[in-house]
């Protein structure tokens, strides 16, 4: 229980993959045009993270260290393929709107980074928990960014329209860079202010 809370806190707050570690930027900007897409991408990546961390941790004593990266990539790619098939079969609308970014979960740096930095050194149980924490942290960040972009860009939230239209540029390419850049600056400002206060 304690380790669960610890890994959730680490994933969502202290080592948030998007805002603190600044990893996995491509899906972060590309799929966050609506909240549904953001949550769908976040949860897909979470499932891949949990299972790849679990399996890499189980196999950590069998994979020779020289070819470990290739080994990790095969494990990750297998789970991504499974997720891709499940999404295609059960949530075809989400599958179509995420498009090419589902196979690209393979090269999401968060997953490889956790495999290398955590799962290859810790027990299977702790690694799966770490995957859960990091995945939920990623999901929270995507939800936040996509909520801002959907509200400003299409004047709706979760598909429910409260305005007839929005500022279109926020759901297009520049809006993604702009929202993410502003949020990062905001978090930097808060943490700098905090460390200045504590001195």
């Amino acid at each position: 229980m304690k380790s669960l809370i610890e890994s959730l806190r680490r994933g969502i707050l202290t080592q948030n993959p998007t805002f603190i570690l600044v990893l996995g930027m491509c899906p972060t900007i590309a799929v966050t045009t609506s909240v549904v897409n953001g949550i769908g991408m976040g949860l897909s990546a979470t499932v891949v993270l949990i299972f790849s961390n679990l399996f890499i941790s189980i196999l950590r004593n069998f994979i020779p260290s020289k070819v470990r990266i290739a080994g990790y990539i095969v494990v990750i790619a297998s789970f991504v393929t499974i997720i891709q098939m499940l999404l295609q079969a059960y949530v075809p609308t989400l599958y179509n709107s995420l498009g090419i970014f589902i196979p690209l979960i393979v090269v999401n740096c968060i997953i490889l980074a956790r495999a290398e930095a955590y799962a290859s050194k810790n027990s299977p149980f702790l690694s799966a928990l770490d995957g859960l924490g990091m995945g939920l942290g990623f999901t929270c960040s995507l939800t936040l960014i996509s909520a801002i972009r959907e509200i400003l860009g299409s004047g709706s939230i979760l598909g429910w329209h409260f305005a007839s239209s929005g500022i279109g540029v926020f759901v297009m390419a520049p809006g993604g860079f702009l929202v993410l850049g502003s949020l990062l600056a905001l978090f930097n400002y808060i943490s700098q202010k905090r460390s200045a206060d504590s001195k």
Binding site: V22, L23, G24, M25, C26, I29, A30, I69, A70, I73, V74, A77, S78, V80, T81, Q84, M85, I100, P103, L104, V106, V107, N108, C109, L112, V169, M172, A173, P174, G175, G176, F177, L178, L180, G181, S182, L184, A185, L186, N188, Y189, Q192
Partner: protein
Amino acid sequence: MKLIAELFSISLGAILVENFVLVRFMGICPFLGVSKKVDTAVGMGLAVTFVMGLSTLMTHLVQRYVLEALGLEYLQTIVFILIIAALVQFVEMFLQKSVPALYASLGIYLPLITTNCAVLGVAIYAADTSIYTVFTAVWYGVSAGLGFLLAIVLLAGIRERLETSDYPKAMEGFPVALISAALLALAFMGFSGFNI
């Protein structure tokens, strides 16, 4: 003549209209990570272009003559990422042995390319055998790489100038790079809808 028009349209699309970084959001990590100096940005861009050309050739051939011939399309992701990883490793060893000068200048960027999602992305797009032939697929791969080169060099130029300018401390590093990228993306939106 028809071929030349098709090649031109592929290049125009991949470099400007559907720029892989600024319009399709692929390869953002190296785009932000290796764009502090123009020299290194050029090195990274050239390395990516080279690997993209080679990997689209390999993956298109594998897709056409192995995966589709055997009905194994669902293995695409696993097979492609392995091809790219092996290819990057091979290119690295080859350059180290035979062109050490080029290896020294590209050295550190080569292993990073495996996790550049633009490389896998362009391989997946170019694997559509109903649209591309082997030749046009490679052409598409090289054009996508040139698009990446253009975007990263532009951003590096902006960031070099920003180094001496005065902006809020909280914007340092990634935030200011992202805002600059947003402005670049805004400029590239001017190309959208271009068609031949």
